[in-house]
Symmetry: C2
DNA sequence: CTGAAAGCGCTAACAT
DNA sequence: ATGTTAGCGCTTTCAG
């Protein structure tokens, strides 16, 4: 049996409230009794029961986290960011993986709500977020990352400007001489895929390059999907000279297909993508890509939650768009092309 | 304000206990009142407060998880395994990252304890586990993964036999003709590093190959460390023809150093390691390595916790050693060597 | 079959 | 300065 407040109190012939006071450093307590209590606390290795505290204080100091999975380096890094902030403030993380499953996402939402979490950071699967209303009603702060819901703009989020990032990535290709640029993206039911496709279109249009629908591949953010789509491109009469992939796995798949077809990267076909975080440095050719500031996304999301928790007026929303970093490596062939600026 | 049992009871002019009964499907309740209650529950969108339930039931259904970090694919996958089991049983995960810091590990231990977790899965940083005694006293099941504490054998764990795995990995090199085999491992304060070094020694000794202390590099499981140690090897008069690295990052670092020195892998120096989970398939040459069944480690750890929770006698310990998989790829040069069997 | 009441461990008025 | 007591929201005897 673990020792509780009452045990300490009884042992010292004082009241539980006095003990509670010294534990929480509240009010005045006589120095002598304080000392005695402190000693007993130590002697009995007393540790407050946080469940009881939570029930009383109505705050669990738990931050719920719903992500598709953590094998993805991006999400692993975001979580690392949230964890850092949480730890600094005595909060903890309840980790839930939706595994790209809408239903599971909904289940976890209810689950976390019942567990009285103090805040939620979520990367939703689709573009709907009906569940969010519940949180709003309860006054629990929710911060969206990655995909954004397709509702009004009245919510907090931390993302990058995907349209802009994709546009710049594509513009880089155009800038170094490419005209025949294909796009491989994920499901258009996700804002991220959709916006990256949008940025690609924008760049082409702005540069007077017609959009070739045959060069748009819609997949699912997995390597297999990039591979398959690229194979499709390769079977067409006219080949693109460059590929924009909406994430790293799609790019890896495309690269496989290109290399298997006996073509060279970037000489025959250039490849660029999002989030090619090659911490290994051994993938050849190294991928030119737009890198999201994943850890910052996590820390900022955490900070927003903490901030919102201590304010009653939740109507002011923080809509954070961070700047991604364009990292030019080998796969775009930049160094081998003339700079036409 | 969220709706509670009392509100429903009052609304229906029944007692809270009756409402509680239908929620938990306990005892007999008149069909009519049950129906009325069920409807009200639905109407008011009642959701039980799990904190209150936990206080009463003295079980939180929370599994604590302490790992160095989740950027490491191995841990990310272990967690995925634990999550699957937890979810199936209505448990949830509290994720803590020690960041390889002993002190932080200890803090999180206390932290989780106060939060009344039902069980703990932990990858300890060093080999000590003084805190473990606390858990033993409280009757909370703890399962160790990865590193094992340097105490008696009276605890539960799920690991692989590192000595054996490392011995087999090294034997594979010897088998295909190598004699000059160097070892790069992590801190010997960790059982994992130590055992992998042990296995390497064993293989050499068994094959009558003398152990050259100059070919033992002690690093810290990071890529930088592998790079630095390999550079040291390369400066010596005699070069090894093969390297055994205790994890993937050490191997990547070594590969960098080898390639920078203008040497080829595996022609000049072969490289093998642990856990080269190359889900990308683009790292060249592909690494021969011993792969730990990470997801299984997670699920089994989760299952042990659930099992132990429902039994009072905690004295019987589950010591699970899973079989890793030796994956022969390109980096050992197998296909280019004659099989001397 | 249903209700009243105790209590999980703690905090915070309120009283002394 | 310290003690008494009423809950936090729920489950569970124990009566009725």
């Amino acid at each position: 049996m673990t020792v509780k407040l009452k045990d300490i109190a009884k042992h010292l012939n004082v009241s539980v409230s006095t003990v509670s006071r010294v534990i929480n450093n509240r009010d005045r307590v006589d120095e002598k009794t304080r000392k005695r209590i402190l000693e007993a606390l130590e002697e009995f290795q007393y540790r407050p029961n946080e469940v009881a505290r939570s029930l009383k204080s109505k705050t669990t100091k738990a931050i719920g986290l719903i992500v598709p999975g953590i094998s993805n380096y991006f999400f692993a890094t975001v979580i690392k960011g949230v964890e850092a902030i949480a730890r600094q403030h005595g909060y903890h993380l309840i980790l839930c993986m939706s595994d790209e499953d809408k239903e599971r996402e909904g289940e976890y939402t209810d689950f976390l709500l019942q567990r009285q979490i103090s805040g939620l950071v979520v990367a939703i699967v689709g573009r709907e977020a009906g569940f969010f209303q519940k949180y709003k009603n309860l006054g629990i702060p929710v911060v969206f990352i990655d995909n954004l819901p397709d509702i009004d703009d009245n919510f907090d989020y931390v993302v990058i400007d995907n349209v802009k990032a994709s546009r710049e990535l594509t513009n880089h290709l155009i800038h170094i001489g490419h005209q025949k640029i294909a796009m491989i993206t994920g499901s258009l039911h996700e804002s991220v895929s959709d916006e990256r496709l949008e940025g690609w279109k924008k760049a082409l249009t702005e540069n007077g390059i017609p959009i070739n629908k045959k060069w748009v591949g819609i997949g699912d953010f997995k390597q297999e999907s990039g591979y398959r789509i690229m194979q499709g491109f390769l079977q067409q009469a006219e080949l693109p000279t460059a590929i924009v992939a909406a994430n790293n796995l799609l790019a890896y798949g495309a690269m496989q297909a290109i290399m298997e077809a006996g073509l060279r990267i970037p000489e025959d076909i250039a490849v660029v993508c999002f989030d090619a975080i090659d911490f290994i440095g051994l993938i050849k050719p190294q991928l030119t890509s737009v890198i999201q500031p994943a850890e910052d996304i996590g820390t900022i999301a955490g900070e927003i939650i903490l901030r919102k928790m201590n304010q009653t007026k939740m109507k002011v929303f923080e809509r954070i768009m961070l700047e991604p970093q364009l990292e030019i490596k080998e796969s775009c062939g930049y160094s081998k092309q003339a700079d036409k600026k």
